[in-house]
Symmetry: C2
Subunit: 364 residues, 2 copies
Amino acid sequence: MKQLTVELGDRSYPIYIGERLLHDAASFFERHEISKRSPLLIVTDERVAPHYLQLVAENLRAGGYRVATSVVAAGEKSKSLAVLEKVVTDALTAGLDRKSTIVALGGGVVGDLAGFAAASYMRGVRFVQMPTTILAHDSSVGGKVAVNHPLAKNIIGAFHQPEMVLYDISTLKTLPERDIRAGLAEVIKEGLIWDREFVEWCDKNAEKLLALDSEALQHALYVGCCVKSIVVSQDERESGLRAILNLGHTIGHALEAVSAYDELQHGEAISIGMVGAAMLSAKLGNPPSIREETERLLRKFGLPVRIPGHMDVDAILSAMTHDKKFKEGRMVFVIPTEIGKVEINENVPVEWVREVLERLKEEA
Amino acid sequence: MKQLTVELGDRSYPIYIGERLLHDAASFFERHEISKRSPLLIVTDERVAPHYLQLVAENLRAGGYRVATSVVAAGEKSKSLAVLEKVVTDALTAGLDRKSTIVALGGGVVGDLAGFAAASYMRGVRFVQMPTTILAHDSSVGGKVAVNHPLAKNIIGAFHQPEMVLYDISTLKTLPERDIRAGLAEVIKEGLIWDREFVEWCDKNAEKLLALDSEALQHALYVGCCVKSIVVSQDERESGLRAILNLGHTIGHALEAVSAYDELQHGEAISIGMVGAAMLSAKLGNPPSIREETERLLRKFGLPVRIPGHMDVDAILSAMTHDKKFKEGRMVFVIPTEIGKVEINENVPVEWVREVLERLKEEA
């Protein structure tokens, strides 16, 4: 088992990464003094529940915990205020009080939804993350939780740090191949913004990672969490540095919005977005090799690097103006300046963005 | 104009109390460096909008602010996730960004709704309160914002402090008499928990207060805000002391829940609840005169002191178990020990509560 600490003063918390950790859930809960008197609520989705809900619930009950569950539909559509209300209904029905804990068992959607429920239920209760996807390594660090609005992603949310993250990589074995690839897109992103050596390591270990080799996976998730953790520790409330984590997200979120959260997975959308950011980088005078290397690496992981042909460029641009990164009328982008380094550019001309979007379609 | 500061370290903020402050809104906004580049959103309700929305919007626009508005239905039913979604729709449509400010123009419902919108929109933007009711003096101090769930009041929310509170008491002149009485219930509560002299002052000045005498009103709201501010400053996150502000609320919230948020105003419900708390106090061995004095004073202000005959005691008790104050299975009450002093009792037997509820009905 690997362990790292996300350093946030009195809100610091550990991430445990290893095999079969869910089989030992109760002892982790005890170590973190999760209340046995107050009921806790496990939030999960219909895809994860059949695999792991019983395992976790029984392990915790055997350890003396009072366990209630809330199962939501799988997929991005569960990140809504309507589903939040359902989770709160389940919390109230189970009698959760201020000393209760809400547990997210699942991927990023469940983490964001359950996390915002924990942030807002009774104005904030404790929160534990149990990620079951690769992508969730990203959302498990940093405390950003949110639901979507029909007009924009992640627009209603909070900063709410978990007590701990219990990352059982055994759960990744039940992931569809597409989810594995999409999840690795965010791992690659951590390298592209921070750590050239890790990018090279990913390049060399692509096959092992795609085959879910335990050692490679633990290393990749550990480094991914570390990069994010270093950045978040320096800027918890996203006033500056933290924005670099959004590499590929300006275009990526818009693509997700235009595809009604269905056609593209988050990791796939930011894969395309990272290529777009690299194209903008070249227009700003950085070496075109950044784009070539980025694209080659993403292709090696079987990730999409082009905008689907039927998508409308105007609709994508319009979705961007509803994004949080559209600050005071300017277009804000995370721009790679070399492999492993990025900078924030707050003055990208809208015309350049349009041109890049059109080229990302044409070159398909 | 009177002014006080709610002391919360780097989240401290001023409350300005005076006549015709809304006519000068833009200069207060400038003093607090509210952004003129980013649009701001005024949230108000259909009852307040015809009186003051144009006044405030035009004053701010004349001062160079970009102003959008979001008008919701009047009444507690607007404190819902559905109406929150509407406010966020208006915010997105108006192009609010991370540097924008959300302004609550109205009573406690608007303050709670707009405040939670400000707390959660893009994970938190700036917030300004413009209370237009007496009751809102209470919700304008302390940063507790929330919406309701069909099963429980204020169960989905956050702690989010405003930049400032602009309390224009001229707006109180358009309040219905019932709202004035109900609002004064919370003012009296501040006295009952903290300040015997202020209770006596209220007793002597009841007529002036009910007639909205400007000087009396400014004093009462100033003292009310001061008491709340002192308590909140010592316990921002409601881990201990702050709970004393809930005098009358354990029963009061349940009465509101049972009456489907319509029949009883919040102030009326806590008026009845304060009598109930005083009855529990007598059962705990405190002087019965506390209940007599409390009841006499509330009657003097024309406030209800009995549970409406048709309400079901079992339903009221059941509603209490969904309340945030029902901690780990025990019944928590704020108990007056003399006029101007209270204590938290976490072990009130449920049977006592039932008996008090039944007597509060029978004695009608």
